[in-house]
């Protein structure tokens, strides 16, 4: 299995500096549209991406770049796409409970280009890499997983809450902040020796992804990578995953 390279994800904090100039998304009258006057200019987006590669957390200095430099530093538009994706994610404070900053991807799904770009970025990474299985975690992993599976020719396998899947299942218990939960998958959905990528919208502590890794491992499947739109770095999910690679598009510092 070829090792997949790890480009650094755009830091969401820096991406939000661009989006704070817009009015808040999701009010009925002024819903986010990508072509509003307040959207960040192309040169600004490129400056952000140059500053995130190994950058410190200070705000980037805003400078104009020449046309020639813009072309070479953003060859396939990846940085532009990731900046746009990051800017469509809405943060809701104190949900589901006080103190939590919830990363809401429903606003991303309302921007057809951002949604398409999200899927394309994962597809570009995983196609022609002999990935047989895309495992999606209920429920938001069901939104991103199937389009990726369809585009790369893999099967989609849902990893579900207990008692939802009919037929023969295996279960794995995992820890939550308070208490435990259980994840299930179908025996027979996968074959030993297959290669899988696990997809979810967000990685926090890594508990859910770890449960999925264990379930697939018990059936002889190799988990090549976990793929999420967003990573909450403070919660150290990447460390909890240990040797299991994690790929994300947007990193909340």
């Amino acid at each position: 299995m070829n090792a997949l390279s790890q480009p650094s994800p755009l830091k969401i904090k820096e991406a939000k500096i661009a989006s704070s100039r817009r009015s808040s998304v999701f009010t009925k009258s002024c819903f986010f549209t990508p072509n509003t006057a307040a959207a960040p200019s192309r040169s600004d987006l490129l400056i952000y991406s140059r500053f995130t590669a190994g950058a410190s957390a200070t705000a980037p200095e805003r400078r104009r770049m020449s046309g020639a430099a813009m072309a070479t530093s953003n060859v396939d538009g990846t940085d532009d796409r990731i900046s746009r994706i990051a800017s469509t994610i809405r943060v809701i404070p104190d949900f589901p409970k006080p103190g939590i900053l919830f990363q809401d991807i429903t606003t991303l799904l309302l921007d057809p280009k951002a949604f398409k770009d999200t899927i394309d970025l994962f597809v570009e990474r995983y196609k022609d890499k002999n990935i047989n299985v895309i495992a999606g975690i209920e429920a938001r992993g069901f939104i991103f997983g199937p389009p990726i599976a369809l585009a790369i020719g893999a099967k989609f396998v849902p990893m579900r809450k207990p008692k939802k899947l009919p037929g023969e299942v295996i279960s794995e218990e995992y820890s939550l902040e308070y208490g435990t939960d259980v994840m299930e998958m179908h025996v027979g959905a996968v074959q030993p020796g297959e290669n899988a990528v696990i997809v979810d919208d967000l990685v926090a502590t890594g508990g859910t992804l770890n449960a999925a890794i264990r379930l697939l491992g018990r059936l002889g499947v190799t988990v090549v990578e976990c793929a999420c739109v967003i990573e909450l770095k403070e919660l150290k999910g990447r460390e909890k995953l240990g040797d299991n690679p994690l790929f994300v598009l947007v990193s909340e510092t």
Binding site: K28, T106, F156, K164
Partner: protein, 186 residues
């Protein structure tokens, strides 16, 4: 209406879709013949057929919104939204969506349940599709239609992979056209 009566009669994709569904008797309770679509979504070629058929149908209907209901609807609806380049709106069980929501209760066989949708996700006058895995005679799709309409959307059609034969005689679901690919397997 069933796809076979609407231009797709004899289309081998419909048989492939039907064959890919697994029937699990007496799940979740005795007497129910559960239509398990996990064997469909794990069959890449057949899963792709469902996307092609729906996208071909809806591509030129000036749709700007596709809504899908948690959780199995999430496996089907987003790929169609991507295929016709529209927004995707998730409709969810209570307490799952952050921010401002509207809720609609609906009847189950025993008791009630509730669906929620974000306020402002649909703009007034937008043409919407609802896509789900299966329509029985339950209240999920009508509740979805009501939520979209309360937000000002115009529901153009409901589309499902599987639909009960009883619906053959009733082409409209609460006044909205219904498009179904296959009947449940015995």
């Amino acid at each position: 209406m069933f796809a076979a009566e609407n231009g797709l009669e004899g289309d081998p994709r419909l048989k492939a879709i039907s064959d890919a569904i697994t029937v699990v008797p007496h799940f979740p309770k005795p007497g129910i013949m559960f239509q398990d679509i996990t064997t469909l979504v794990s069959n890449h070629k057949v899963f792709k057929h469902t996307v092609e058929i729906f996208v071909d149908r809806f591509r030129d209907m000036d749709i700007s919104v596709v809504a899908g209901v948690e959780a199995r609807g999430f496996m089907f609806a987003p790929s169609k939204a991507l295929g016709i380049r529209t927004k995707f709106i998730p409709l969810r069980k209570p307490g799952q969506l952050p921010g401002e929501v509207i809720a609609e209760a609906y009847e189950l066989e025993y008791g009630k349940d509730c669906l929620e949708m974000h306020v402002g996700a649909v703009e007034s006058g937008e043409r919407a599709l609802v896509i789900d895995d299966l329509v029985a005679t339950g209240g999920t799709l009508p509740a979805t239609i009501r939520l979209l309409e309360r937000n000002g959307g115009e529901v153009v059609e409901c589309a499902c992979v599987i639909g009960l034969p009883a619906l053959k005689e009733r082409r409209l679901l609460n006044g909205k056209p219904l498009y179904v690919l296959v009947e449940p397997r015995a």
